[in-house]
Amino acid sequence: MSGLSPLFYAYTRQFINGFKWMNREKLIKILLFGTIGIAFIIGDFYFFYRIFTHLKVLLKTLPMKLGAFFDIGEMLVIQLFTVINLTFFSMLLFSNVVVSLSTIYLSRDLYLLLSSPLRLTTIFISKFFHTLLNSSYMVLIFGLPIYVAFGVVYDAGLYYYPLSFLMLLLFLFIPAGIGIIVTMLLMRFFPAKKTHQALTFLGLIFAAGIVMFLRFMRPERFFYQEVADNVLYEFFEKLNVPDLPYMPSSWLTSSLLELKNGLYSEFFTHLGYMAVAAVTVFGLTVFIATRIYYMGWQGAKETNNIRLAQKPNSKWTKIWTNIPFFFNKTQKGLFKKDVIVFFRDSTQWSQIFILLALIVIYLFNMKNIPIDTMTLKNLISFLNLGLAGFIIAAVSIRFVFPTTSIEAGGIWIIATAPVDYRSFIIEKFLLFLFPLLIIAETLIYFSNVLLKVHTFFMTLSLVTMFFITIAVTALGVGMGAIYPKFDYKSSAEISSSTGAILYMIFSLVYIVVIIILEVYPVYSYYFHELPYGKFDVTGAGMFFVVALLITIAVTVIPLKLGIKSLREMEF
């Protein structure tokens, strides 16, 4: 195992060098995401602190209500932890399968490592830990505040914290080992890249499902000062899962309760189970690796006959490629290429599911807004413009902003061809404008229908949203060309680049400015509904004109700057 030390040295040096040679862009990103991360950890802690506090109070009050002592609070804690730990286990299992595909099979350093005189077992173990770390850190970030909140609320004592942490660490080994074994078995039969794409797609569906599930439970109720008991019961009813005593997640749940109650002998029994299971799974993973890993790695390269020949231009292809009849030849070529590449890349098109989940959640929120007066509903409809605008900006940052960057290494083909960048930028702009208009107007229309707003607000919202979408799309295409990131490893890197963050800020400022400019026309409309009130057509009209002029500027200027930037760019 002495071979492990140079490998760990290489990994840690790379990690340290990442900080040592940090440029300003990376520093800003770390600060930004660090702040968001800390805010998330605090929110996570606070949310569960509230839940556990309610459960503790419930334990004290229930005997009086029922006339007999019934530890329902603890039962609910067990139920909650069962769900949380089981969810963690499933998420870890899945993420280990996906991550291990990259680290153990697709990683480029494997060519160097496997040709070195290092033992295969040594290389595999280093990759095991690499996978474990990459796939489990999010669970640690999300899970630890929950366990700490539990310890704080129930005064679990000092031993609780290190022992529960140790238990969690051992727990992480089990899904990692199982996930890696699943990957190794998959690799014996399927090519690595295709499996990776398929699993990434399934992962997105899984993530969208979890987000929707969490939203439909309406967790915001627990941030209110007083939470009614029936709200709590209803919440836990939805979390009902069968008891699975042989699952490591159940041992983790039991151990937390045992630590809280000072039942150390029972705790150490469960710790023993967990340790034995962790060591066994780890040993089994290494053993299986010695048998099938190398063969799998060799076979993981894409085999030539895996994908059947694509049908040459079908009738259907000819129809859809000619839909944008107004495009010139170059633009038609770019359009066809962009659409084909998008729908053949499962990491791209599968995000549509996240988008759909977002829309459903959005409309669900609109339906559940606890407001019944017409005036307030109209007001919410007006403010809804801002929210829908933010949604469009969020979608754009993922799809529109990266549109130049995703040309990546292939940009030389366009750069050396007689392509006018005006055609290039306009094609990208129109490519995204129509789908985004459909999404934006659908959001606005249905949320206004759910709010049952007045025709004036419906019209105002639909027209305003139309222009906001045009401007936000143009801003995304333009800024994406001004700040491209061609050297990305995953497309998510483009959406978190400095240029993307700037784009988000500019879009949000623009949307806020438009909303502010429309305040006066809305106010004037309200005023005219009062007795003797009158709609100030001139005043309102002036605000609309200013909003329109700003929209034209936000549309035209970034597109022009994007074209200029591409013309001056070097590749």
Partner: protein
């Protein structure tokens, strides 16, 4: 025809190409030699319009790459050394896409690409995704893409890397025929044998400066005189290019042990 005048390119404080002037005539096969980091790819990229000169100019068929890039690019077929392509297009779709960028008729693209792909024994793969192509197959696809618009000038960076012996033979033959048809070829390489076999004139670049230009005979003459344009012995230049000086030193050191 390619005309390069006082061309320089800076990357920050580093000067990659320094005051390079050169003229390559119609139908000429010009070889551009130099060791790694000499400035070959930077020069090639400026000719292809991928990089902008810091000073000086490049004109292709009379069109300046900075002031009239679209006209210049219409005349050029560029073949890079690292063949990145759109992985999720098939070979046919890729060629059709390139054809549209050059405003070509689909029938023309189909006809010309079929001709080249068959010559490269790649036609059977035309409806497979590019991601399943080997390095050499990608290189052949790029050759085809660079030729479908019948360019007057071909700018090619290390063309033989990754090609199998059959591919190399086909490319050599193809280049010869193109030159016979009046196509100008500007080829960068650090493989002396290929340059010697194929090029009519050779330019040698070292540390961003053009140190010698001429036909093989002219270069030999320079070497015989014992000095090149920069006063450096041509043999020394060639040895520097091929790492020969270091090899000689190493052999001396080994013998003395």
């Amino acid at each position: 025809m390619i005309e390069i005048k006082n061309l320089s390119k800076d990357y920050g404080k580093i000067r990659a190409v320094n005051d390079l002037s050169l003229k390559v005539n119609n139908g000429e096969f010009f070889g551009f030699l130099g060791p790694n980091g000499a400035g070959k790819t930077t020069t090639i990229k400026m000719i292809a319009g991928l990089l902008k000169p810091t000073t000086g100019s490049v004109a292709v068929c009379g069109h300046d790459l900075v002031t009239n890039p679209l006209e210049a690019k219409r005349k050029i077929g560029y073949i890079p050394d690292r063949p990145y392509l759109y992985e999720r297009l098939t070979g046919r779709e890729f060629l059709e896409f390139v054809g549209r960028l050059y405003h070509l008729e689909p029938e023309h693209v189909e006809e010309v690409s079929r001709e080249y792909l068959e010559a490269f024994k790649l036609y059977d793969w035309v409806d497979e995704l590019v991601e399943s192509y080997s390095h050499g197959m990608r290189q052949k696809l790029i050759f085809t893409a660079a030729l479908i618009h019948d360019p007057e000038v071909i700018v090619v960076d290390e063309p033989m890397v990754g090609l199998d012996p059959m591919g190399v033979k086909i490319v050599k033959e193809l280049f010869r025929r193109l030159c016979d048809r009046g196509v100008t070829i500007f080829m960068s390489t650090h493989t002396l044998e290929i340059a010697e076999e194929m090029c009519e004139r050779i330019g040698i670049i070292l540390k961003g400066e053009l140190t010698a230009v001429g036909t093989k005979e002219e270069l030999r003459e320079m070497a015989a005189k014992g000095e090149s344009e920069s006063g450096m012995n041509l043999e020394t230049i060639f040895l520097k290019l091929t790492g020969g000086e270091e090899v000689s030193e190493l052999l001396k050191a080994l013998r003395s042990q």
